[in-house]
Subunit: 331 residues, 2 copies
């Protein structure tokens, strides 16, 4: 019965269905109770997604909306060096939303979360005229391993954990399928999948600790608002500058084939790739990038200036000062 609406089963009916997506032992109380590991700090992050602003039925199935919203929050935990414990989900929904849509949203969240043994442990649902999804994720991290934006030092190498720009290119393909007529099927799928099913980079943390030791000095954040934004935020918070070598930034062929002119813009400003941008000692960076592979790269280094300069080794383009004015503002 996919045409069943929320108003047909009411708040309690919907809650009962959604509880199937939560661990049985946490249901039925005012709050969820979870064990934590001794000696670890609690890490908390929250995101709000609104229909028509952050997602749309035009480009994104409810499963993908669910996956992406879970991934975005887990990525914030990864950016702090934290492993996830659980998430809570607050939904505001018009009463004519299909129950099936909400169940598929939860399925998508769980598909992403299950990779990391993470569960939805709490939630609230209420009526609204527009669908919004508020997710709060909790994780834990040994305090000496917290990755902060303000810890970059002059001389650090700037590392990215994978490919940037693919998510934005995938969105363009979903909005304007005709743009992809010169792409192979696998390139098209790759870019669209990058948009619909981004992977938070929790997988890189064990390698990072192995290389950097138990009390590392690593600065970083995730690139949810774009690669340029991440470098700029880290520099601003650390009171340093950066030099980026344009040729060191990987640009996948699929992106260049889609739009040679816009490829670099997508890479720098596209956002929602949910990779990590990390600053660490060059020797550690080299080992990290080598072992991580799959697009991980050292794209530049931290400098004593106050700006982020991108230079072109081939001298085809003049040096460019990156700034946030091209970034994304919600209002």
């Amino acid at each position: 019965m996919t045409d069943l609406k929320i108003r047909d089963i009411g708040e309690k009916g919907l809650l009962q269905r959604l509880q199937r997506y939560c661990p049985a032992d946490i249901i039925g109380d005012d709050a969820a109770v979870m064990p934590t590991q001794p000696g670890q700090a609690l890490v908390v992050t929250t995101d709000v997604l609104v229909d028509g602003v952050h997602f749309s039925d035009r480009t994104t199935s409810p499963q993908d909306v669910g996956w992406r919203s879970a991934a975005a929050n887990l990525s914030d935990l990864a950016a702090m060096g934290a492993t996830p414990l659980a998430i809570t989900v607050g939904l505001a929904l018009p009463s004519d939303v299909a129950v099936d849509w909400v169940e598929k949203l939860y399925q998508g969240m769980n598909q992403c979360l299950q990779q990391y043994n993470t569960a939805i442990v709490g939630g609230d649902i209420c009526r609204s005229s527009v669908t919004s999804i508020a997710i709060t994720a909790f994780g834990q991290v040994p305090p000496q391993r917290v990755i902060r934006r303000n810890a970059a030092r002059v001389g650090d190498a700037i590392v990215i954990t994978g490919v940037h720009g693919a998510s934005r290119a995938g969105l363009e393909l979903l909005l304007h399928p005709e743009l992809g007529q010169n792409l192979s099927n696998s390139d098209r799928s790759y870019l669209i999948n990058a948009h619909q099913r981004p992977q938070p980079r929790l997988d890189v943390l064990p390698l990072l600790w192995k290389i950097a030791g138990a009390s590392p000095r690593i600065a970083g954040m995730d690139s949810s608002d774009g690669l340029a934004d991440a470098v700029l935020q880290i520099c601003q918070m650390s009171g340093v500058g950066a030099h980026i070598e344009q040729q060191n930034i990987p640009i996948p062929n699929s992106l260049a084939d889609l739009s040679p002119k816009k490829a670099l813009d997508y890479v720098l400003y596209g956002g929602e790739d949910f990779e990590l941008v990390l600053c660490m000692q060059p020797i550690q960076a080299q080992e990290f990038v080598q072992k991580l592979g799959n697009g991980a790269a050292i794209i530049g280094n931290i400098t004593a200036t106050s700006s982020v300069i991108m230079s072109d080794r081939t001298n085809q383009n003049p040096d460019e000062v990156l700034n946030l004015n091209r970034g994304f503002q919600h209002f």
Copy 2:
């Protein structure tokens, strides 16, 4: 400049202003990091409030909306026996909302939170066509002290920690001021304050542990959806019934003066009083109520039946079977 709108300062401008209401050391990273105490479990709860459903400028100032939303979440923590650590706030806002409204919302939240040394440690803001507020609160509790709904046993006394019905009566007075013409100013203020500035009952926990010991068996929840709802939920989750003595439920004079006919309805079904409804051994209940005072009362006991019966000692009314059909459904 109270007519400044969100669209005038943008998302980043608004975030900068709101960061003044958060501890300085948690700002600027992808997530907040907090120490936890060893040996305590993490407790998490989340609530979504929507303009026009849960609050309205007609009855509630932005400070009061903030206070009430913080109080509702802290009350869920109290209901689990947990002390609060922090909250996160996810806001969805139309761009023509006044910046002043949002700042006052945060002021109200902080006024409530500061009583419990609790801070806003994270948040997200995004554009929407309707204002909604998603709050997630975290607390901690020694695992052996968790209060659950399913732990009531036959013979337990049913305790309420204070007065019920006042919040709902206060709302009626705000919607229909003419109803209060026979009330004294202080009664009117008392009822309206109960609606606008409810107090989560975190204060009762130390007394509870003192009386019940380090590993108590206490069942309970908060009465946010009404006193009757709380008793019914506890009975359902515990697989027991209850007998309530109507005359044992305190009804303040102000409530009886406002509407003698509706007073009992407000008490049983009004909701949002954010008191605790607890089940424990009668001897512990007596000591607890005596020491707590201020409207705390033993209103009945847990029975081996499958229903919740309210009886009238004066025999003016027949026994009544309470049920949830009079409760509140959001859709």
